[in-house]
């Protein structure tokens, strides 16, 4: 492209459209790749957490696998480094930085809440009797799924994808109710009548399944769509 000042209005409009479109494609590719990697990491971690929980249960360590969630930001960062290097010159877009900030905020809240819950559980467990502890315990899964649903809905608003907004709101609220009122446990005990050990295994894996689905629909799928759009 050279300096040409004798352009027609149509040519000017063509240049503006072409540049905005090219930039949008480059930004979509990088953003899509980041969402895709994050979605894959969340899905892989949820499977790993479920497997570790299952294996640790026989040793009496119920839910110990959930500590692996702390590794998730590190894994995402390590895997994203390659993409960041490949697209080092791609500019920061408003949409990209808003999506990144939404998930960073979610991560801070989720990890912060997780730490607070662990500390409170540790203190309460030592201070009160098991019967007193039960109603006072902080349940992590309902809050995490609610926060994740909110993150997905905000992502949908930023990316202008209405289906993602609705998925975030509906799935976030439904899964919050499901987890908070332990509806999974109620179904297992009243309908399937599984033995206690299998019930505990099922209950421990249920939040992992929810997060797996959230990771797939909320991050991997929009990431794939953005990558496809940029081709």
């Amino acid at each position: 492209m050279e300096e040409n000042s004798n352009m027609t209005a149509e040519r000017s409009l063509e240049i503006i459209t072409k540049q905005i479109e090219m930039n949008r494609h480059a930004v979509s590719k990088t953003l899509g790749q980041s969402l895709y990697i994050s979605g894959l990491c969340i899905m892989a971690t949820s499977v790993l957490v479920a497997v570790v929980n299952f294996l640790a249960m026989s040793a009496g360590l119920v839910g110990i696998g959930h500590l692996l969630w702390f590794l998730l930001p590190v894994v995402i960062w390590l895997l994203s480094r390659k993409t960041i290097k490949e697209h080092a010159h791609t500019p920061t877009s408003f949409v990209g930085s808003m999506v990144a900030k939404t998930w960073q905020t979610f991560g801070i809240f989720a990890i912060g809440f997780f730490v607070v819950a662990i500390v409170c559980t540790f203190i309460l467990f030592r201070m009160v009797s098991p019967s007193e502890y039960a109603p006072m315990q902080i349940r992590v899964a309902p809050i995490i799924v609610l926060l994740m649903g909110m993150g997905i809905a905000m992502n949908g608003q930023i990316l202008n994808k209405r289906w993602l907004v609705w998925f975030g709101i509906v799935a976030g609220l439904l899964c919050f109710v499901w987890e908070h009122f332990e509806m999974g446990a109620w179904i297992v005990t009243h309908i399937t009548s599984l033995p206690p050990y299998e019930t505990t295994v099922f209950m421990s894996s249920l939040p992992c399944l929810t997060i797996f689905i959230f990771g797939f629909v909320g991050l991997l799928l929009p990431g794939m769509m953005l990558k496809k759009q940029s081709v």
């Binding site: 300096e3 040409n4 352009m7 209005a9 409009l13 240049i15 540049q19 500019p91 930085s97």
Partner: protein
């Protein structure tokens, strides 16, 4: 009577740079060069002209040990671009 088009923006390369910066928070020199297909020398001259007019901000930083020139649009540039597009519309009768 058609409004006059901003002569600073009514140039292929400068208009391409401004259009690109319109949809990004900021962009570095190699990216602008790649997207516009301009030569480094020509692009540098046009970027300087836009910067001198206060349409864009040019920041020279380092990415690791490598020097890096980052450009971003200013509110003056944004207003000029909006006016340019409005003028274009009257030419095209959009």
């Amino acid at each position: 009577m058609f409004p006059t088009l901003d002569p600073l923006l009514h140039s292929e390369l400068r208009l391409a740079v401004m259009s690109l910066l319109m949809s990004a928070e900021e962009a570095d020199f190699p990216y602008i060069k790649e997207q516009t297909g301009a030569t480094a020398g020509n692009l540098s001259v046009q970027v300087d002209k836009l910067s001198a007019a206060g349409y864009i901000e040019v920041e020279k930083t380092f990415k690791g040990k490598k020097p890096c020139t980052v450009c971003r649009i200013t509110p003056t540039g944004l207003k000029a671009f909006e006016d340019y597009v409005t003028s274009l519309k009257s030419y095209l009768k959009v």
